[in-house]
């Protein structure tokens, strides 16, 4: 079983639209995983049934037992996150501020504080419109996106692929260059980068490529909206070449990406044969590299 991860560094490059189209092309041979848990949007195109779900916990949060609290204030005095306030004649945790460090738990003289598992979201196992399955997640408000949820989504997708004898896992990766994207990349056989030729797009792509090189994962790149700025597109292509990232093709600015999305369709289902053929060719190239 092989794993392909699609990432972009910057938002809004068309990564999710392309990944959903690849998911459609991979069809029944593939399990899809949405690890862009901060802005999990792929479900809008793939019609998952949300059949199975499970709560997801990450990190800890302090909890003060009102009946035991003597209001001594030792906890609030040491908390560096302003997460404990006096409320009437007891102290109380402000959940949004608590980092879960546990310092208060250690200093409470009457053991009124316990550290409880922090519910941060839910993950789902769904049947999608291709007839295959997708693993995806939803983070709660103010929850921290750690590598843990990404690792969980990927792990469940892989387990499902193994169980059902699928050849491929396709991952819509996290944005940025922090812990979640590192977790998205971990264990991948191929990284597909979706770039755009804007100065901010180039800037972010360079940072992501540095990261991929550290992990020595083979990578290839698609430049979307290539005709928006041909000079920048050339600069991107040269940069890819210098860094041994295989450039597999350009897609011109095309509003049918948005129009297809508006109809809840992938590019493959939308009535733009030229664009669909282009995406098909890119997908074939990706499989060849793999």
């Amino acid at each position: 079983m092989k794993e392909i991860v699609v990432i972009s560094g910057k938002g809004g490059t068309g990564k999710t639209s392309l990944t959903a189209s690849f998911s459609f092309l991979g069809g029944d041979k593939m399990i899809t995983a949405d690890c862009d848990v901060d802005a999990a949007d792929m479900h809008l195109l793939l019609e998952p049934d949300f059949a199975e779900s499970e709560d997801f916990y990450s990190g800890k949060m302090a909890f003060i037992d009102k009946n035991q609290c003597t209001n001594c204030g030792s906890c609030a005095a040491i908390c560096r996150f302003d997460a404990i306030i006096e409320d009437g004649n007891v102290h109380r945790i402000i959940e949004l501020n608590c980092e879960g460090c546990g310092y208060c738990y250690h200093v409470c003289p009457v053991d009124a504080i316990s550290m409880i598992d922090n519910l941060v979201g839910k993950w789902y196992k769904s049947k999608i419109k291709t007839g295959s399955f997708m693993v995806h997640a939803k983070l709660g408000i103010g929850a921290e996106n750690s590598g843990k949820l990404v690792a969980k989504v990927k792990q469940e997708a892989k387990a499902l692929a193994e169980q059902l004898g699928k050849e491929l896992v396709l991952v819509d990766g996290s944005p940025g260059i922090g812990c979640p994207v590192i977790s998205s990349l971990s264990g991948a056989n191929l990284v597909v980068l979706v770039a755009e030729p804007s100065i901010s797009g180039i800037h972010d792509l360079k940072r992501v490529i540095q990261l991929i090189q550290k992990f020595q994962i083979p990578s290839c790149c698609i430049i979307n909206k290539a005709d928006i700025n041909e000079k920048n597109t050339l600069e991107l292509m040269e940069f890819l070449n210098r860094n041994s990232v295989k450039h597999i093709g350009n897609i011109d600015y095309n509003e049918n990406f948005t129009k297809a999305m508006t109809e809840g369709k992938t590019i493959m289902e939308y009535s733009d044969k030229g664009l669909a053929d282009k995406v098909q060719t890119l997908w074939n190239d990706i499989l060849k590299i793999l």
Binding site: S58, G59, G147, K148, I182, S183, S186, G187, N189, Q216
Partner: protein
């Protein structure tokens, strides 16, 4: 010499887990004693942060000298391994533990 492999299961025939920090198992071969042991590392899933350093710590406790894995450890884990004088070899992501050991012996893996 003690050699550790990140693996998806126990024993020689298990596939190598390309991940380091969140690897499910660590298969350790002690060449002197000709002894193969497996450590179940699946509890690492419960860690939100710092999975890499934590798994590295296990290798140090086991007095491992060489690590064979797939993609390579992240920065923090690499620091622990370096301080603990564990040599890391990568590029064994698509093999079984036995094949990875052969490759290591033949010098076919990349030093991290």
């Amino acid at each position: 010499m003690k050699i550790a492999f990140t693996a998806k299961g126990p024993g020689w025939e298990a596939s190598v887990d390309p991940r380091f920090g969140r690897t499910e198992y660590l298969v350790i071969f002690d060449e002197e004693k000709d002894e193969l042991t497996t450590i179940d590392n699946r509890d690492i899933q419960n860690e939100s942060h710092g999975a890499g350093p934590k798994t590295s710590q296990i290798l140090l406790e086991q007095k491992v000298q060489v690590l064979v894995t797939g993609n390579g450890p992240g920065g923090n884990a690499a620091t622990v391994l370096e301080r603990g004088k564990v040599e890391t070899y990568i590029g064994a992501g698509d093999t079984t533990v036995r094949e990875a050991y052969d490759k290591f012996k033949k010098g076919e893996l990349t030093k991290f």
